[in-house]
Symmetry: C2
Amino acid sequence: MAGIDRTLVRSLTLFNKTSDADLDALLSSAASRRVPRGEAVFEQGAPATHFYLLLHGRLKVMQVTADGQQIIVRVVHPGDLFGFARALQRIDYPGTAIAAAESIVLVWPTDMWAVFLEQNPALAIGAMQTIGQRLEEAHTRIREMSTEEVERRVAHAVLRLIKQAGKTEKNGIRIDFQISRQDIAEMTGTTLHTVSRILSAWEGKGLVEGGRQKLLVLDPEGLSRLAEGYRD
Amino acid sequence: MAGIDRTLVRSLTLFNKTSDADLDALLSSAASRRVPRGEAVFEQGAPATHFYLLLHGRLKVMQVTADGQQIIVRVVHPGDLFGFARALQRIDYPGTAIAAAESIVLVWPTDMWAVFLEQNPALAIGAMQTIGQRLEEAHTRIREMSTEEVERRVAHAVLRLIKQAGKTEKNGIRIDFQISRQDIAEMTGTTLHTVSRILSAWEGKGLVEGGRQKLLVLDPEGLSRLAEGYRD
DNA sequence: CGAATGGTTGAGTGTCTTCAAACAGGGTGG
DNA sequence: CCACCCTGTTTGAAGACACTCAACCATTCG
């Protein structure tokens, strides 16, 4: 499909070993799609017909349990591959990907996955590193949920967010997409009430500045100390 | 290295698309190593010089947090790849792999990883599926830790164990390696005390039969119901 | 301007952890 | 072969952390 910005894609670490020719081949079979805020790219349980690359914006991947509880499995940042369910012999998507901000994604049919990897071993290694990192993030999260109490988990989650989606402002670092207390709760395995209380307390200490679906971190250092378990 | 059982390796799903010639090449650069119960294959933080395949036995991969708390990241079963830290540009092992039973592992130098994948795209896809499955398991565990209370998490963990390491006996299904309450606690993010109480209660209901580092599941059905959240 | 969504805060409660003590079994050395 | 020790397990009691329930407030959007 025409009109895809090659220089933007070129700059992604995933493709830093891919030749220009190979990259053109990849892009030629991709489509790009604009996703408005709040809309789903794909839904949990739907057949995995495509896989995706986020070019611009921000997505939340959510899962709903049998009894209706929601959790956020991960946040997708620009440059991330996502929705590659078929890469592991799944026929459906294990979660729902929702745009937390207006987003642009590249789309390929799932059949292309195996083709690309076989034709392009460097990409296979890159993709594997990507998945491997994701695995390690998941283990980190498991460790945190096993050993840390809620306040530290929330601190870690917020630190991760400003690292991956932080925009420096005059007073501190802003999370550059709309995120609710409910979202943070679903990322840390707690309730929005507890998150609200924690953020209020932090605001009182001058660590952060809240707002409706907004969060500005004033003192990342202090938050780090909290995350590492220093009592007060 | 001579003396590695090719038919055993051949039967692993990981290699079901690998040609005999390629498989021989792989095995020719591997060494096999016997690991007695309680001994570590590699230690957390040590340079990732090798990657491994478990042929026989059972391993626990553990992580220790900064403040000394332990968790079990996963259990390694025969046929599983493990310790492939370098596959994701890590230079050290993120955890410690300890033999929960006398084990036999195949060992390769990490340099071989990239070589194998580039020479053998089918293997790359197989390896990626392996890692992908692991990622999904991790997400499942995160979901359970976020939304389920301890008893259900323990039930899920035990069900997973009998599925992956269950040996049918006359009265039920036995977990076929030594596992302590502490281990189960570290797999589910709770304390050995709570696990002990839960297992005692289950024993009272005739669901399981305990013992020192032993566990026999008498009623998998009943356990499943518990895991799915049916109150009593 | 009103409805809807998101956020705050209080009170009460329950699950699980922590602290503590005692017990069981398996292996080892005398 | 038995006593002892070490490790793993059981169980009780107290307390804390975070959840649930509930009510109210604030902000945004149609």
